[in-house]
């Protein structure tokens, strides 16, 4: 193939690398009002009085808005397909503040200094209430985070607000308790994956203005333009037809930008003042007033027979969703959905979970979306089981993993369409040197090296929910325009989607113009999340391109005076099979659009899938542990990936390396921490340590391609699955090195050191 499977550079690569002005802030009008947010200093309080007079009277202040000035319609910031599973539990500004950082007032002024000065002049009195800070104490806590009557859900999610339960999830097949009794070996443990911060380099930002028709235009650094449009319509109580959301280049998202942030505040200012407004969250706000990964407690119990077949799995999850329920129900259920199907020799499986409200920053979508937490817990328990059974950890996987054509207990009969996970495991073993290195080697008087491993899966899009549309038209000049709502956030989807279109249309990529992420002009796409873009949006692009190709053939044949079966297509022109006549795309365009044809040729398709085929990874870590200090150095990390057909090997590899690095951060360094009053203690890069280039060791990626029959060119997803293996694989390696099983992430030197003292 000319395009698909090639490491083609990103079409925007040079512009963004060279610092061209293509991001949200670069595009904002210089006269935009600066919007700042006064935030709550209390974890849980009621505003008893708020005096804005001294702020309003300051010269240069355009407006100061409080809870008295906002529509009384609860909404969710979660960017999800309608009907959103997340509860409508927030107002733009509320009289009750539910975490330190919750919004109290919106200030808009001519410049930042004036806005900040005005903020200081707002006098607020609070009635402080007892906060819920420990998520394990949330159920039954005397404080109720969301007592309000008007909180609502689109459908039943198991919300019990009087108990601080945001949502509940239960799935059970077979008799789990009976099955455990029959098992020869049963292991059980409890895991605490932490809250993790996305820390995309471009913080949250948006600018808003009214266009010539009085519509609200929102230029936003978002992964979900269409969801932002719907969210704003509800929050601001204006018709969705009055809103246009445009996504320019994005400086990273990782799921964070699947949740709305400042759009609604800037939008409100523009509606109130009629003026352009710009909101940029600083790094502190980005850390402490947006979202993080859901911190969880997971209890996992596994039972196996003598031969090592896993017969029963029980997983009980408690998820901390913080002050608002963005993504609470879906992240919770995905813990099970993206882990349990790994192993299908089971006879009974039970998943039970609850997400709870606390008075901390909300959790939200984050690359991996529950699978990351679930993989840490399940895979760590499988490693434990292998040890009990005296089996090699790779062997127990090979014995138990689901294979092509098979089903799994909780899968309602869906058959697995593609997998090379067995080959991924074999290749990973070879690359890391498993046979020589497992489990440990002493390398000096105080240092030990050891290896560990884990496997993982994710989905590709959301079955029966995620849809995407794409349109490709033949332009008057013989070039093509690809319209898509998919949102490139650095991932390169504008490039890979045009690779796919170019492949079908057999034209060079330069002939395809991509226009994406604009709710006025793009066909509907939920946005780039849920590992959807390659698989779902890619599927739509392929279908649209095929439709256009058929139309080009038919129209050309008609012009040439032959039947459609008598012409062929080579990307430059349509020729008769006999070779005596041909018509170029440029000529065809001229005749159809400008001439007598009067029919611009357009291919259009909507793609929605009944399945969400899993990509797989086998991850292997080699660590060196200092037995005197507990310090862990990651020496080598090998990830072997089955993402179906690799559409663009370089971009897929970078995605994988970056996801692995985030997983390494989660395993060893990163943690969102709060102090005793619920104030975030990690609100800058000085306290919150993401890996630098010295902290990631060596990361090596290999692909074991499968062919997914339902995917475009056989492709599955890659964006999220890459984040999942490092926590369990590194934890396993550390255990193999020094015998410390640390289930609270991150695994810091202190924890390893203290763990060694207890051995």
């Amino acid at each position: 193939m000319e395009n698909v499977g090639q490491s083609i550079r990103k079409i925007d690569g040079m512009a963004i690398a060279m610092g061209k002005p293509v991001y949200t802030e670069d595009l904002a009008m210089p006269n935009a009002l600066v919007v700042k947010i006064l935030r709550s200093p209390h974890a849980f309080a009621k505003i008893t009085s708020i005096d804005i007079s001294k702020a309003e009277s300051l010269e240069g202040v355009q407006c100061v808005l409080t809870f008295k000035d906002v529509p009384n319609a609860r909404f969710t910031l979660a960017g999800q397909s309608y009907p959103e599973p997340s509860p409508y539990d927030r107002l733009i500004l509320d009289q009750i503040v539910r975490y330190i950082g919750d919004e109290v007032a919106i200030i808009a002024a001519v410049d930042e200094k004036t806005a900040l000065l005005a903020m200081k002049r707002i006098k607020v009195e609070y009635e402080v209430m007892e906060p819920v800070l420990d998520f394990e104490q949330a159920i039954g806590h005397p404080s109720v985070v969301h007592p309000e009557e008007d909180l609502s859900c689109n459908f039943e999610i198991g919300l019990q607000k009087e108990n601080n339960i945001t949502s509940s999830s239960h799935e059970e097949v077979g008799d789990v308790d009976e099955e455990f009794k029959r098992c020869a070996v049963v292991v059980e443990d409890v895991y605490y994956p932490q809250a993790q911060a996305h820390t995309m380099m471009e913080t949250y930002r948006a600018f808003t203005y009214l266009d010539h028709a009085g519509r609200l235009i929102v230029v936003s650094s978002t992964q979900v333009p269409f969801h932002i449009k719907r969210q704003l319509a509800r929050a601001l109580q204006i018709p969705a037809s009055k809103i246009r959301v445009i996504k320019p280049r994005i400086g990273g998202g990782f799921g964070g930008k699947q949740t709305g942030a400042g759009d609604v505040f800037a939008g409100l200012v523009t509606l109130k003042t009629g003026k352009p407004a710009m909101i940029i969250y600083d790094r502190k706000e980005t850390f402490s007033a947006t979202t993080s990964r859901h911190a969880m407690r997971l209890k996992v119990k596994l039972g196996a027979d003598q031969e090592g077949f896993i017969r029963a799995i029980d997983m009980q999850v408690l998820s901390d969703t913080g002050a608002y329920g963005e993504h609470a129900p879906t992240v919770l259920s995905c813990v099970g959905h993206y882990t349990l199907p790994l192993y299908n020799k089971t006879r009974a499986v039970r998943f039970d979970g609850k997400a709870v409200y606390t008075n901390k920053m909300p959790a939200g979508a984050f690359r991996g979306y529950g699978a990351t937490q679930g993989t840490f817990a399940l895979e760590s328990t499988v490693n434990r089981l292998a040890e009990q059974l005296k089996m090699d950890p790779t062997e127990i996987r090979l014995k138990n993993i689901s294979k092509v054509g098979e089903t799994f207990l909780t899968g309602q009969g869906v058959m697995l369409g593609s997998s090379t996970l067995d080959r991924c495991i074999a290749k990973g073993k070879e690359l890391i040197g498993w046979e020589e290195k497992f489990p440990r080697r002493v390398v000096s008087y105080n240092k030990v090296r050891a290896v560990g491993m884990a496997i993982t899966m994710q989905g590709s899009g959301i079955a029966n929910i995620g849809t995407a549309s794409a349109e490709i038209r033949l332009n008057d000049d013989g070039n093509f325009t690809l319209l898509t709502g998919a949102t490139d956030m650095g991932t390169g989807c504008d490039t890979i989607l045009s690779q796919m279109a170019a492949e079908i249309l057999e034209v060079p990529m330069e002939k395809i113009i991509v226009h994406a992420g604009d709710t006025d002009t793009s066909p509907y796409d939920p946005g780039s999340y849920a590992s959807s873009t390659t698989y779902v949006a890619g599927g739509a692009v392929v279908k649209a391109a095929e439709e256009l190709k058929m139309k080009i053939l038919a129209q050309s044949a008609a012009i040439l005076g032959v039947g459609p079966q008598d012409v062929e297509f080579d990307g430059l022109a349509v020729r008769t099979l006999s070779g005596d006549q041909e018509i170029s795309f440029a000529k065809l365009a001229e005749l159809t659009i400008l001439g007598t044809g009067k029919l611009q040729l357009v291919g259009y398709a909507t793609q929605g899938c009944e399945v969400s085929p899993p990509p797989y990874i086998a991850g292997f870590a080699e660590v060196e542990v200092d037995q005197e200090t507990g310090k862990v150095d990651l020496i080598d990390y090998v990830a072997v990936i089955d993402c179906g057909t690799v559409i663009n090997p370089n971009l897929a590899r970078i995605q994988a390396e970056g996801g692995i690095a985030q997983g390494i951060g989660m395993a060893l360094y990163e943690q969102v921490r709060y102090d005793e009053i619920g104030k975030m203690a990690t609100n800058s890069f000085m306290q919150y340590k993401i890996p630098s280039r010295k902290d990631v060791g060596k990361v090596r990626i290999a692909f074991e391609e499968s062919y997914e029959p339902t995917g475009p060119f056989g492709a599955k997803s890659i964006g999220e699955v890459v984040a999942n293996t490092p926590p369990p694989a590194i934890s396993h390696a550390i255990y193999n090195a020094v015998g410390v099983r640390e289930n609270h992430l991150p695994i810091t030197p202190e924890k390893v050191f203290l763990g060694m003292q207890k051995l």
Binding site: A17, G19, I654, G658, F685, K694
Partner: protein, 149 residues
């Protein structure tokens, strides 16, 4: 207060406030390659050169630039593009937000270090954070650029 400086080989006179930082001044004059991302002088995105040395423009008062020679990536498109081509051929710009500052550091490193080892390269660039790539692709690009194995 007025300062006079050389920006990308052009002498300019700019009005700046006493408490204004160079990154903001540069952005306000249209040098939009200069990005800010941390507010705590530790991410490297705002890296520019002052008198030929790389520095964090978010942490230098604009007044300090008086009489200095400031270079941003807009100042040497040819050299920067040569490396950017290699970087993006690896796919290692990803979201691109950290790339201009990173490229400024790489070009400074090329001037300062002779035949650096992998360890020296990593050490020199530790202050340039990236959340997308995991750094491996950047290292591959640098090795190609410097012609080291």
């Amino acid at each position: 207060m007025q300062i006079e400086l050389t920006i990308n080989d052009k002498v300019v006179k700019w009005e700046v406030a006493n408490d204004e930082f160079l990154a903001d001044t540069l952005r306000s004059h249209g040098f939009l390659s200069v990005k800010k991302a941390c507010d705590t002088s530790c991410c490297g995105l705002c890296t520019v050169w002052m008198d030929g040395k790389s520095m964090l423009s978010c942490s230098v008062l604009s007044l300090r630039a008086h009489g200095k020679k400031i270079t941003t990536i807009e100042g040497f498109p040819k050299e920067a593009e040569e490396f950017a081509q290699i970087l993006s051929a690896e796919g290692a710009e990803q979201c691109g937000f950290c790339s201009p500052g990173f490229i400024m550091s790489v070009l400074a490193m090329k001037n300062e270090l002779v035949n650096p080892t992998e360890e020296e390269i990593i050490h020199y660039l530790t202050g340039n954070l990236c959340r997308c790539t995991g750094y491996m692709g950047q290292l591959r690009a640098i090795k190609i650029y410097l012609g080291v194995a």
